[in-house]
Each structure stands twice: as structure tokens, then as C-alpha cells.
Symmetry: C2
Subunit: 408 residues, 2 copies
Amino acid sequence: MTYSLPNTRDEALALDSADPLAGARASFRLPDGVTYLDGHSLGPATEGAVQAVQHTATDAWANGLIRSWNDAGWIDLPKTVGVKIARLIGAKTEEVIVCDSVSINLYKLAAAALPLSKARRIIVEADEFPTDQYMAQGLSDLAGVEFVRVASGQGEAELSSGGVLIKSVVNYRTAVVADMTSHEAAAEAGGGVIVWDLSHATGCVDLDLGAVGARLATGCTYKYLNGGPGAPAFVFVRNDIANQLSSPLSGWFGHVAPFAFDEDYKPTAGAARFAAGTPSVLSLSALDAALDAFDGVSVAALASKARALGDLCLWWAERLGLQPISPGIGEVRGGHVSLLHEQGYPIVQALIARGIIPDFRAPNAMRFGFSPLYVRFVDVWDAMAALEEILVSKEWDQPRFKVRSAVT
Amino acid sequence: MTYSLPNTRDEALALDSADPLAGARASFRLPDGVTYLDGHSLGPATEGAVQAVQHTATDAWANGLIRSWNDAGWIDLPKTVGVKIARLIGAKTEEVIVCDSVSINLYKLAAAALPLSKARRIIVEADEFPTDQYMAQGLSDLAGVEFVRVASGQGEAELSSGGVLIKSVVNYRTAVVADMTSHEAAAEAGGGVIVWDLSHATGCVDLDLGAVGARLATGCTYKYLNGGPGAPAFVFVRNDIANQLSSPLSGWFGHVAPFAFDEDYKPTAGAARFAAGTPSVLSLSALDAALDAFDGVSVAALASKARALGDLCLWWAERLGLQPISPGIGEVRGGHVSLLHEQGYPIVQALIARGIIPDFRAPNAMRFGFSPLYVRFVDVWDAMAALEEILVSKEWDQPRFKVRSAVT
């Protein structure tokens, strides 16, 4: 489905009425009086996820105790949840395992990629997400591998000299979407390898890792996948290379037989060798249930709606004279839109005080996230109308909106 | 308190009546008809932990959404939960951070310890817990450091040549307790460093990391600390060396200002620099509440009761002609007792069928765990009486008890 750009609030409401994804919103437990535009940071809870956590705690843990590793299928969760994610990224079912955090998984994959690369160096772009840069630095220090930071957008060209490039598909500030096909071609030609970070892309971009020839990726599950705060991340490894790769974080859950208690590490087959420690069952059970909200929804439909919602935000931004740093109306874009304002921080706080929740990234970016399963066109309309009021009235210029929080 | 060895079931009941720790059992949500002797593998749920998970899911996540990182204190959980653990291991409050798994933390600490060691090598003993061995192998491969496996009990002597020794305080099979003081002295003398694995020790052994001069440690929270399946582990780093150390897994949550989005990694002060990715909030909230069951309980009292329960098990084992591989009656020991039997697997299954839950470790060890907060002397008595019946009647010799599960 393609969505037209509404010119009035009534047209926004009409779009919502006709929206084939509108039904998914009922799965979510959204609080009254809140318009949630921060799903690119932390997705909201589905009713199923809340119930799954309660069930896991009371039934599987409290009553089942240790038996639940077998009887409740805990031991299989990293794979069974991986199967649900595989469909959303265009992977085969056995190519995905759920484990650890994006940070940890970037390290595993970048280290495992080094032997595949012509040159022992790790490349990141200057505006890459911070933890991606930090993990590359830590790995480079320990493994004695060159750390290369190139300018924004120059990672693809740098691959001509080989190396392992850590690259986000969707930039966390701008929502610019990388051309995965051309990057993979450059990697192939130059003897390099790409570790994709799908954190801001999964669930809002039409990903097809198989079609673009991606070899390695990881991604976050607590943003557009709504897995819950700090939910475990996932690892994707293309089947044909998985068994050549070694995870440096060779923990017992990546072993071919964890409960044989062998002395020597023997990795299991496929992506599952990138598991390490005991899986975080409570968090996994929330994620498992949260993914059911995607049942029957195509990633093409998700991407199309996310962009249409972003287009409406950009249409308003132009009216309000706000400078976007995200791709424009009709262009390919991730699920969020960033608008610049030197008073971005207090403006966002003023919006939050009205129950409209975007987020802020220093020094001056207001990020509005359009998670397509539950954000409505009328939500975007009303949020931008409120933003207009705040700008016109200078409502943001109150001391209470200028107090900085630990997490901004 | 010291506990005498009961000679009859009535004496066991009398010990329970007089037990100063008896009240703690009321905190737990133990299922009816179950005698749980597997707390060394997965601790049971406390009522508070179940409620905390529900509250975090419904109130902090579903209603609070992204705001809960500040408003519900999520951002501080790795430290605030660490404070509760610090008391149980004899650490200062700022020396403990909760993050990731034991496997991952062993890697971080062993890598960080390398520059402190006279020799670039990593040492493990042959009967060390498997994941400890595997992580040492993975680190040694990536960092180009020698991997040294010595015979059981030879780690201390091996430290005379320097190196980083990964060593469990309580052996997972035998429950033998390492002499931490003499190990640390050997490390000091030989220019080596020890990374302690406290997994089977925390909550059942009278740990005092400060007194023994320990520098680095990690441990599991889902065993005697009852944090829930796959609950995050903890890292201990002695204050005076923390700021010299670099975690190779240098993720954004170990950065001095994670939300400043700096390009370069600058570690925060103290043990907290060993955090990496986004904390697993749902799991942390369960652990946080579970630790309240330890309020007002000294680790000396925990250790004393755990040993007395184990003594009673060993007294029975002698009557039944079962061979223990754990330290004997009155000796220092961890919280479990391992008894050998070539039919150990079906015997354990027959016990489980009666609602008595120990566990089994291949090839022939039956492990009985005596978590001192909720196991009663009469539980041990009745479990061992049931074991006697199973052995005498050969009840274990039924095909249904010989079917192997994924997790044994």
C-alpha cells in the first residue's frame, strides 16, 4: 500500500481508517494520554509481552523451576525467537540467534570477520553510533588490528583496501539508509567484510539480507521490535560461511553440546555458535511474545507506512521552518525523522510535558520516531500541531524544561 | 550459629525450629509438593522477584515507557543491584557492577588482567567449569596469548611463572573451596593475576574479597542469589586498580558519559567501566528484588547453615554406601554435595518424579544443593530417605527414567 500525504487533520484520520496496519495498534498496551514517538529508542509493551513475562515468572520459573529449561522450552528460545526475527530481515531461519547485546555481538562478528578480510583493520565512519565505534576500538586494541575512522559516508570507498567495516543500515541521527547492495559489492571487490548494525532498521525498513548478499549482522530488539528494555540482541550469519567462523566469546551456549561438559570448545553449527553465556530467559520471553505483533505483516508494508508517517512530519517541519537532517519527503528513510533546533532539549521536554514523547540527541537533534505498528497519522498531525504551539508561544523557555536528565 | 548433626527426623525438625534463618523461607514462592535441592543451578523465585518483574513490565515499561530510564532508576540498576551483592562478597559498594553473563565477564576481566601479569598466558585447571575454559581459549586465540591447562589443583603452583589464572572459588562438581588467601599470595609472589569465578560460591560461602586481597572476580546471580533464569552476572574489581584497567568489550554503558555520544571511548571510573551494552532491565529488576531475601542475613550464617545441611546429606550418604566427591562432614565446602553412582542419571529422574529435585552432571555425579535461605534440615532428611527407597527398590531401573533431556 502507498499512503498519500494528508493536508488536513481529517485527511490524516481518513488515512488511519483505511490503513491496513491499523489493527496492530490493539496489540499494544499504550498508556492513556500519551502519543509515543520514541519507539526508535524503546518500543512500548504489547499486551502479550506483559503477559508472557508474568507467565514466565510465575509459572515457568516459580513453579517449573529448573525443569523449565526443558519443559518450557527455555533452552530453545535463542533459536525460536531468532526464527521470528529472520522473517523480518530476509534471513533463513537458521541464520539468526538471539543473544547478548548489540555491543557484544559487534565485537564477536568483527573479530570473526577478520580472517575473511584481505587486511587486518577495522573501519568505522565518524558519525557511526558511539558503541559501534567504541567496540571497534576495544577489539582493535586487544587483537592488534589497525583502527580506521573515516568521514561519514566514506566506509564503502574505504573497503577497496579491505578490512572489516562496521556500518549501521540506518544512521541513528539522520535516518539515512545505506545502500547495502553497493556496499556488499564494494566489500566483495576490495576483499573486505561488512558487519551490519540493523538496530535502527529492523522493523521499519524493508530489509532483505539474502537479496543484498549480506554476510554478517546484528541488531537491537528493543526499538522497533518492542522486546522490552535491554532485551537481548540478535546475530545474523549467512549460512554458507557460518561454519568457518570463530566467535572470540566462545562460551558454553555456543558449544555443540553445552551439557556434555567437554574440556575443549567445539562450536555448534551455524549462527548459533555466536551464543555465549546462559540466555536471559525473562527478557527473551517478553521479546518472543512481542514479535507476535508482526504476525501477518510484511516488512514492505512496515517500511511504506514508516516513511509515510515521516513524510507527514517533514511536511509540517517545512511549514514550521525547522531544519531536517533526514532524507526528504518521498525519499528512502528509516523510521525516524531528526529536526534541528538549538533549543531542541527544552522543546522536547515541553512536548513530553504534554504527553507527546519524542527524544533528543545532543547537541541539537529532536528525533521523532514512527513505529508503523502503532503510530497513527493523526498522532503525527497532533504532535506537530503541538510543536507549532510550543514554538510560537515559546512555552519551552521555562526553567523546568532545561533540567538535564541522566538519560536524555 | 553452629548446627548439630541430627540423628533422627525429629531432631532435624527441632533444628529447623531453632534455625535463625528459618524465616527467610517465607520469602520464596516454592511450589507445593516440591523439595528443591537444585538452587546451585537455578534458584527459585521469591514473591518479591515475581512482583518486581510484573511491576517493571506493567508500570515502568508499559506506562512509563522511555521515561523510566530516569524516573524508575533503570539507568542506575547495574550499580544499585551491585551494592546489594557487594555486601555478600565482602566488597566495597563501588567495586561491583551487574552486567552480561559470567562467560562474557570472564573474558573482559582476563583480557584486562593481561597487562598486570608478568607473563602473557592464561591458565585454567582441567576440571574448571567448561565455559571458563572455553572463554580462556577464545581469548587466547584472539589476543595471541598462550593457553595453559594444568591438572586439577595445580593453578596456584602455576602462578609462580606469572599469567592470568581463571579459577572457581567453589568447584562445580566437587564443591571443594579454593584457599583464596594462599592463591592470592602465590599470584603476588609470581607476578600473576587471578580472575575468580564466584558462581557456585556467592550466597553460600563466607566470601570476603577484601580480606583475601582479591583483585578481580565475576559471578552468577541465578544460583544462590535467586535472580531468575539467565539473570545478569556481576563484576568485581578492586578499587585501587580499577582505573588502570581496560575492558576489551568497551561498550557505551562503560563510557564516562554514554549519552554524550562522543566518538572516542573514555571509560568511566571504577568497576562500572566493565559494563558494555544496554542493561537487561526486566532481568535486573527480578534480581534486585530477589536480593532483598538476604536483608539482615550474614554470609557467615549462610555458610554455616549450607555446610550443616551438606553434612546431613553426607551422613546419609555414608549409611547408603554412596561415594561422595565433596569435602566430608565438618569440612569447608560449597553449598552442594556430589555423590557418585553409575546410575546417577535415572536415580535423579526417579527423585524428580517424587518431587525431589537435585541435578546430575555427566558422567556420574548427583548434585544436591543446599541453599541456606529456604532448604530445611527436614527436607534433606526426607530427600535422603527417598533416595534410600529408590536405591533399595531399584525404582530407578525404569525406561522412563533413562530418557535424556536437552538440559540434564
